[in-house]
């Protein structure tokens, strides 16, 4: 009996030790990533030896499922392998929803991809702290990238990520429809109101509103409060998160939130039942004339109606046209795993030089319909060209500024959606609810 007990206790202990043995990143949380992964088997994923020489294999984990982006990735692979005989670029494309899980599983299993993408500076900080990211500060390709965007990839003075694209936020509109009704791009709230009234009188829904999805809803208030509050104070979200600033004390924020509601009569019939896909279709059909969204809307709407003529203007925020701001944000960033092997770093450096070249970015701009981070004379969609060329003094670049972390962001949008879903709206109730929610997070 005692033997059996000893065996049972040993088995339980063995299982516990096995379970606790790895403190590496778990599948669903960047926060759990631990530094100790670095240095363990760091060459396995990136290196292979062939019998007749040494072949270096680099792995690029991405979530670029769109046909245009896949064409770009494929062209990078072909050009890279054609230029360097001893290097193989292995492409691993996964769906956007599983990307983070797979990345963290690989990192936790000592099978890190050589390059992968992260979406924000906050992510860079977490992965950099865990020791996963290589310093790219001396990479030659940095000279090709828009200097303003590079700030987003910097952590503790090091360049650990390089944005591949620029995103823009504003009001995307049907230019032909505006011309048909003699409308011009509004620069003040009263002008925007007149535009909406004219469209409504002609049976057109002024705004397509994909509010069934929180992320898509967030673009709508964002074009207001980011253009005013964050533009005026770069530490706006930081102060709100550490509670040194209260929503209730931000008159500008309250004003912008009231503006969101003031235009609710121009939303579609079922704003909170409309998905992002439906909103694109409504725009493509000509049922709605405008949508407050990110620049990817251009590609999405155009794919449903290739003949649509889309334009973009910054959301008016007051009666003063000079306060309008086109919002520009660095998009996905390519990061390099922190290999300790010079040969791999050299191969990766060559890959970065290729990716961030104008020739390569031309494919990204023209086939994937994106705004590349490398400036150049590309043939991109007109609305995207407008964003790229929008005067700097009338633009607000979010590069390098600290935004909300996902926890605060979720609470922010959830609370806002609750406030706007009803038939009445009280801005003071909204800011009180936001302050309570942010206070609860801090506790």
């Amino acid at each position: 009996m005692s033997k059996k007990r000893i065996i049972a206790v040993s088995m339980v202990l063995a299982m516990l030790l096995t379970g606790c043995g790895s403190t590496a990143a778990t599948a669903n949380g960047t926060e759990e990533a631990k530094v100790e992964q670095v240095g363990q088997d760091t060459t396995s994923a990136a290196e292979e030896k062939s019998s007749d020489g040494e072949v270096i294999t680099l792995t690029w984990l991405n979530h670029y499922a769109e046909a245009g982006k896949q064409a770009w990735v494929q062209s990078v692979k072909e050009q890279f392998e054609a230029k360097y005989d001893n290097v193989v670029l292995n492409i691993e494309t996964v769906d956007a929803d599983s990307h983070k899980t797979i990345l963290q599983t690989k990192l936790a299993s000592d099978d890190a991809p050589t390059i992968f993408d992260l979406s924000s500076n906050a992510d860079l900080q977490v992965y950099n702290e865990a020791g996963y990211l290589a310093d790219l500060s001396d990479f030659e390709c940095l000279a090709n990238v828009d200097a303003g965007l590079l700030k987003e990839g910097q952590v503790d003075g090091k360049q650990v990520g390089i944005p591949i694209e620029l995103s823009g936020y504003g009001i995307f509109y049907n230019v032909d429809m505006f011309n048909e009704y003699g409308l011009e791009e509004p620069t003040t709230l009263s002008e925007l109101k007149n535009v909406c009234e004219t469209l409504k009188a002609n049976g057109i829904t002024p705004f397509a509103t994909p509010f069934a999805e929180a992320w898509a809803f967030s673009c709508y208030p964002r074009v207001l409060y980011d253009a005013v509050c964050w533009n005026n104070d770069g530490a706006f979200w930081e102060k709100l998160a550490d509670r040194s600033l209260k929503f209730a004390d931000c008159e500008d924020f309250k004003k912008q939130m009231q503006t969101v509601w003031d235009f609710h009569e121009y939303w579609g019939e079922d704003a909170f039942g409309t998905s992002w896909d439906s909103a694109q279709q409504i725009m493509a059909n000509g049922e709605a004339a405008m949508i407050a969204h990110g620049s990817w809307a251009v590609d999405g709407i155009t794919s449903y109606n290739p003949d649509i003529n889309l334009g973009v203007f910054p959301m008016p925020v007051s009666e003063d046209p000079s306060e309008c701001r086109m919002i520009k944000e660095p998009g996905q960033q390519l990061v390099l795993f922190n290999y300790q092997d010079e040969r791999i770093m050299e191969a990766a450096r060559n890959l970065y030089n290729l990716i961030y070249s104008q020739d390569c970015m031309r494919v990204y701009a023209e086939e994937a319909h994106q705004m590349p981070s490398v400036p150049g004379d590309y043939n991109i969609l007109p609305a995207l060209a407008e964003i790229v060329n929008y005067p700097a003094e009338l633009s607000f670049s979010e590069a390098g500024l600290k935004r909300n972390d996902p926890e605060h962001e979720d609470v922010l949008f959830e609370t806002m959606m609750n406030a706007y879903t009803g038939s009445t709206f009280d801005v003071n109730e909204l800011v009180d609810a936001l302050d309570t929610a942010f206070d609860n997070i801090k506790k």
Binding site: A65, E66, V94, D95, I102, T105, D111, D299, Y304
Partner: protein, 277 residues
């Protein structure tokens, strides 16, 4: 007489309504698979202007359909055979001998407990083990995992079914000098036809549609299965529903055919396996 006719009519009408409700999603999927994106934007319910096969061509090309179909068949077919063989033996053993063996009773509980562990919890250890054994991105590695994660439930089904088969049949075989193994293969296994068909059909369907395991273990293009290729039509912000539905319909055909072929056994097997006689 008149009352019977009205009730029959009502019954038929209700059945027709139910059929329409159940067929609607499939019909919408088929319609969508023939529509261009501009047509989709106009109306989801309308008929396509022309029944062109562009979406099907695009889906086959973009998802490398034939290769992924081949991979899926290569993974699912042997997995289902192994699952049926192993779980029928394990279910038989547990059902017949658990009364005399504490270890088998424990095994039965372990099977049950393992059904409650989601794959997400096993993901990192499995990935590490597979990497060290060089089983990542291999179809046989995928088969091991699919079999391993399916055995518990299918054995559980077999246990219930075997308990319903009278002992006496096997006892007469033993009296004629049959060994236990021969008795299982020659006497008992043929009697398990209904539950074996159920297990085979259900697992064909589940393994065909598996995404969670395949997305972790099969990351190279040439070994990917059909379900993993589905996401090629869904970008971060955009979706190509026409092609996605075309690919889904193509991938549905083999599994629907299998299900229809085995339908009569499935219901029988589930009912008998679930009820202890």
């Amino acid at each position: 007489m008149r009352k019977i006719r009205i009730s029959s009519l009502l019954y038929i009408l209700l059945m027709l309504l139910a059929i329409c409700i159940f067929i609607m999603p499939v019909a919408l999927a088929v319609l969508t698979s023939f529509k261009s994106k501009p047509e989709l934007a106009k109306s989801i319910l309308s008929l396509p202007a022309t029944w062109n096969l562009d979406n099907y061509k695009g889906a086959v090309e973009r998802s490398d359909f034939l290769n992924s179909l081949k991979n899926t068949v290569a993974v699912v077919a042997p997995s289902v055979v192994i699952i049926v063989l192993c779980s029928s033996m394990s279910g038989y053993t547990v059902a017949r001998h658990s009364r005399d063996s504490r270890a088998l009773r424990l095994l039965d509980k372990v099977y049950l407990a393992s059904l409650m562990i989601p794959f997400q919890i096993l993901m990192i250890p499995v990935y590490k083990i597979y990497k060290s054994l060089h089983l990542l991105n291999t179809l046989h590695g995928m088969i091991f995992m699919l079999v391993g994660t399916s055995i518990a439930y299918s054995s559980f089904l077999y246990v219930g079914f075997v308990k319903g088969i009278p002992h006496e049949i096997e006892e007469s075989a033993y009296m004629d000098g049959c060994s236990e193994f021969r008795c299982f293969w020659l006497i008992t296994f043929p009697l398990l036809k209904a539950i074996s068909a159920t297990v085979a059909a259900l697992h064909t369907m589940w393994l065909w549609n598996d995404f969670n395991i395949a997305v972790i273990l099969l990351q190279k293009e040439n070994v990917r299965t059909i379900t993993i290729k589905q996401f090629y039509f869904f970008g971060k912000y955009t979706a190509d529903y026409g092609m996605a539905f075309a690919a889904a319909i193509l991938s549905m055909i083999p599994v629907v055919a299998c299900f229809m072929f085995m339908q009569k056994y499935i219901v029988n097997g589930i009912v008998v396996g679930a009820v202890k006689s």
